[in-house]
């Protein structure tokens, strides 16, 4: 029977299996093929904190979701159209997310009595009516993979491990993904292991051919390329983009990057990525603890490097003391906070935006510092450069907020022309600044103090955490001097507001409602606003990259709208700031589930406000 090809605008696929089943890899490969085909896309890995939770249990399930489309994609999608479940636990953990009437492909071989029991199923959900209303395909993936890899001289266990490639092959057929992208990758990956390579290729092809030849699947789908600006593209995760942004800031400033960090999920990815880039002169140091990491970075900045540190969750608490010192020393430094669900250890692999107020205020005394937030995986690149720019120009620590979702998600990125990227002038102090004297706290027009690095002849000075006398930097306990210095430090940070682009309103500028966001909710806000408009209602949106200080026009904009709704993956931290700063009755849409906000959830919230 000839198979028909059905056209689709957008599709959400979710691969789910045991932690050891290779689902992240399968998703990554599917993503690469999809990117190269020219679809727009967004991905969301969703994995447990345990490295290898007991096999077959619901809490050991690892999943990878991708939305791809022939149009602009802003989120990984709320509800998968297709779920690939490698075992009963994967089905159980994910079935509720699947859209009604959606497609569920299960590895039939894994649905035995024992596995069903481990997942907590009393009977087989694929045959007992549980999945009525879904299109269920039961495919004996393990059996076919074993048959396809017979005679290749590998063990049964090794053969079975290739079944994720069977799943990849099958879904690649379903959506007409180019096979050579995956096959080329396998060639590279298993270059030194010919037998394993052959097994993986055999499994991939078996999956692809299974779709094409069996009568189980009546048709495949086509998702046309999405329109995009001309250029060279790649797929990029937030973690990689952020690391590359820091390296770019180093190259474009001429300051060696010194990144000190303590291993913590999910910020460790930054340390991993940067430690590979030694040929860019990047110094990486895995410190003995979070506190040391911050202090090493600060010391490196004093010595003339671009000092940076990164952390997540509780690590941010531990760095607070050092950030206060950095405020007092007035040295450039970038602190990356890849936010994760708290309090305490919380949910280390789950996302949250709970650190906004911590970033702004989480230090003793009056200790203001600029805070910026990235809004998409690719935006992590630009935001990292921006953080470094502000840090160097204003001689201040800058907190860069990312989150677990941004760090792990990927999206296509038009690779920028390097020559068009901003340059950063370290503007080191070269000589005396007050007659024959050097005063370390004499300021320039930006209120920034001179950065005189050790080794510079004649500019010896001592700085420290004790309050300093305005200008000379000598220790001072004078009460009026303290008030003046506190005001200067605050004014310096405030001044950044005039040096950043104004807040832009998108969509229906004349709407009654403004949806204001920050950080990783950008995609969701755009998707939800689009749905609201499709429903015939008007909505304006705006997104803050600079949280401290906010762009100068933030107040006028939020005051212009009758209604302001702020969606956040916290209990309303930005809303609290907006209400306090601008006396605007901003409303909160909060979600604290360790997951991104879904477009449909926000759409409902918007429509509710508009009633």
């Amino acid at each position: 029977m000839p198979k028909t090809v059905e056209e689709k605008t957008k599709v959400v696929v979710r691969f789910a299996g045991d932690s050891g089943d290779g689902m992240q890899l399968t998703g990554d490969r599917f993503t690469s093929a999809t990117a190269i085909l020219g679809n727009d896309l967004a991905t969301l890995p969703d994995f447990p904190a345990e490295i290898r939770a007991p096999a077959g249990t619901v809490h050991g399930v690892s999943a990878f979701q991708i939305q791809f489309a022939s149009e602009d994609v802003t989120t990984p999608g709320d509800h998968p159209n297709v779920l690939v479940a490698m075992n009963p636990a994967a089905l159980k953990a994910n079935v509720d997310l699947v859209e009604r009437g959606g497609t569920i492909i299960v590895n039939e071989d894994a649905f035995n009595q024992r596995a069903l029991g481990r997942a907590g199923y009393a009977s087989d959900p694929t045959s007992d009516g549980t999945l009525d209303g879904y299109q269920v395909y039961r495919v004996p993936m393990t059996t076919i993979t074993l048959r396809a890899t017979e005679g290749l001289g590998i063990t049964k266990k090794e053969a079975e491990r290739s079944k994720n490639m069977f799943a990849l092959g099958l879904v690649s057929w379903m959506y007409g993904r180019p096979t050579e992208v995956s096959l080329d990758w396998l060639e590279r990956r298993f270059a030194g292991k010919p037998q394993i390579l052959d097994a993986n290729i055999a499994a991939f092809k078996a999956g692809y051919n299974f779709g094409e030849t069996t009568e189980l699947f009546a048709h495949s789908y086509r998702v046309a390329p999405a329109p995009a600006e001309p250029g060279t593209y790649r797929n990029v995760s937030g973690a990689t983009a952020l690391a590359w942004g820091l390296v770019t800031a180093s190259v474009r400033s001429g300051l060696p990057l010194f990144y000190a960090s303590y291993p913590i999920t999910p910020a460790s990815e930054l340390l991993h990525e940067l430690s590979r880039l030694k040929n860019f002169g990047v110094r990486t140091l895995q410190a003995e603890d979070e506190i040391a990491a911050a202090n090493v970075a600060l010391g490196a900045s004093f010595a003339g490097c671009l000092g940076a540190t990164g952390t997540s969750g509780p690590g941010m608490d531990l760095k607070a003391e050092t950030l206060g010192l950095a405020v007092a020393l007035e040295l450039p430094m970038v602190i990356v906070d890849v936010q994760r669900a708290g309090p305490s250890t919380g949910m280390p692999t789950k996302t949250e935006q709970g650190d906004l107020l911590l970033a702004l205020f989480g230090r003793h005394g009056e200790a203001p510092m600029p805070v910026v937030a990235a809004s998409s995986p690719a935006d992590c690149f630009d935001t990292a450069i921006e953080a470094a720019r502000i840090a160097v120009r204003y001689r201040t620590p800058v907190i860069l907020l990312s989150d677990t979702f941004l760090a792990n998600s990927t999206e296509p990125w038009r690779i920028p022309d390097v020559d068009g990227l901003p340059t950063i002038d370290p503007n080191f102090a070269k000589g005396p600044n007050a007659g024959a004297e050097f005063l370390p706290y004499l300021r320039d027009e930006n209120l920034a103090r001179p950065w005189a690095v050790p080794g510079t002849p004649g500019l010896r000075h001592r700085i420290g955490g004790l309050e300093k006398e305005d200008g000379t930097g000598d220790i001072s306990y004078d009460s009026h001097n303290h008030e003046r210095m506190s005001a200067i430090r605050a004014a310096k940070v405030d001044r950044v507001a005039d040096d950043v682009p104004p807040l832009e309103v998108e969509g229906d500028v004349d709407a009654d409602l403004l949806v204001l966001g920050w950080g990783s909710t950008l995609g969701t806000i755009r998707a939800a606003a689009r749905r609201v408009r499709e429903a015939g209602r008007k909505v304006a949106t705006a997104h803050l990259r600079h949280l401290c200080p906010m762009p100068s026009n933030t107040g006028p904009i939020v005051k212009r709208y009758q209604l302001v709704l702020i969606p956040e993956m916290n209990s309303g931290q930005l809303a609290m700031l907006i209400r306090a700063r601008y006396l605007v009755d901003a409303k909160t849409f909060a979600k604290i589930q360790g997951l991104p906000i879904f477009a449909e959830e926000l759409e409902s919230a918007i429509l509710e406000v508009l009633v």
Binding site: V181, A228, R234, A300, P454, R462
Partner: protein, 343 residues
Amino acid sequence: MSEQVDGKTTALTKKDFASDLEVRWCPGCGDYAILAAVQSFMPELGIEPDRTVFVSGIGCSGRFTYYMDTYGVHGIHGRAPAIATGIATARPDLCVWVVTGDGDALSIGGNHLIHALRRNVNLKILMFNNQIYGLTKGQYSPTSEEGKVTKSTPFGSVDHPFNPIALALGAEGTFVARTIDNDRQHLTEVLRAAAAHKGAAFVEIYQNCNVFNDGAFDLLREKPEGLHNQIRLEHGQPIVFDEGRRCVSVGENGRLVISDVTATPPDRIIVHDVHGRPSLAFALAHTSPTPTEPTCIGVFREVERPVYGEAMMSQIQMATERLGQGDLATLLRSGDTWEVKAG
């Protein structure tokens, strides 16, 4: 200040290293003697004050940085070794000193100290040990003896103290030494050896706090007791003290003991070896539980190991030679890419 004449630096003097800030330790504090010794000794290193950095933590010792006319960072409590690690690693060309105290280095900053030592960061760490918290006005410290009565231990401390030398040796310190604040000559000799050492040098300086813990080291510091109780370690020399009357020798079960020279066969007297196994240095650190008995001073151990900052820089150099100088455009285009054409 020294001057550049025909590209050569004229001799530096003590004045070149003294800042114009008024020194404000309590009158009679041992810190004055240490400051004077350091300022006097620095010129002989021949390193410009411009390339010298002092980093300190919190406590009375923390003020040291302000009194040196060099580059300096007065950091936060316990973190000086971490800040200094950033400086020394980023800039192997600098001469970086850490000034800390027993509370700063061994309590709140214990973790940073041991890791700076094991990494062998090129730091000269001077730990002023006065066995008390001075700046917070007299609480017991991690080196205070058991039973110590202070404001926070009115019934006596039940904490067992650290032995700083043993701790530094246990942390794989490559240079570990002890000296005394008021013995200018010995102090200077130890500083000289520390400065000459490549890598982390840990120097414990017994320092009298005449306000909150006066006399803690009298048995070693004062004459004539000091003469009897200081066990001066000298590399390659038999360990004999108390004007030649007593010695450190191998006793029963191979343990080190203090014995009368006349009653000890010469071949059982320990000959000090700073380059040898750490067990000897460790045993010498334990000749007395507290400085109230004969106690070793001098260099306990001095061995060579790769210096942290240099090792990091050589990795960067190797990677650059192997991969070529990093190129941003190439990096951003690494991996799978695709083209979108106009129209």
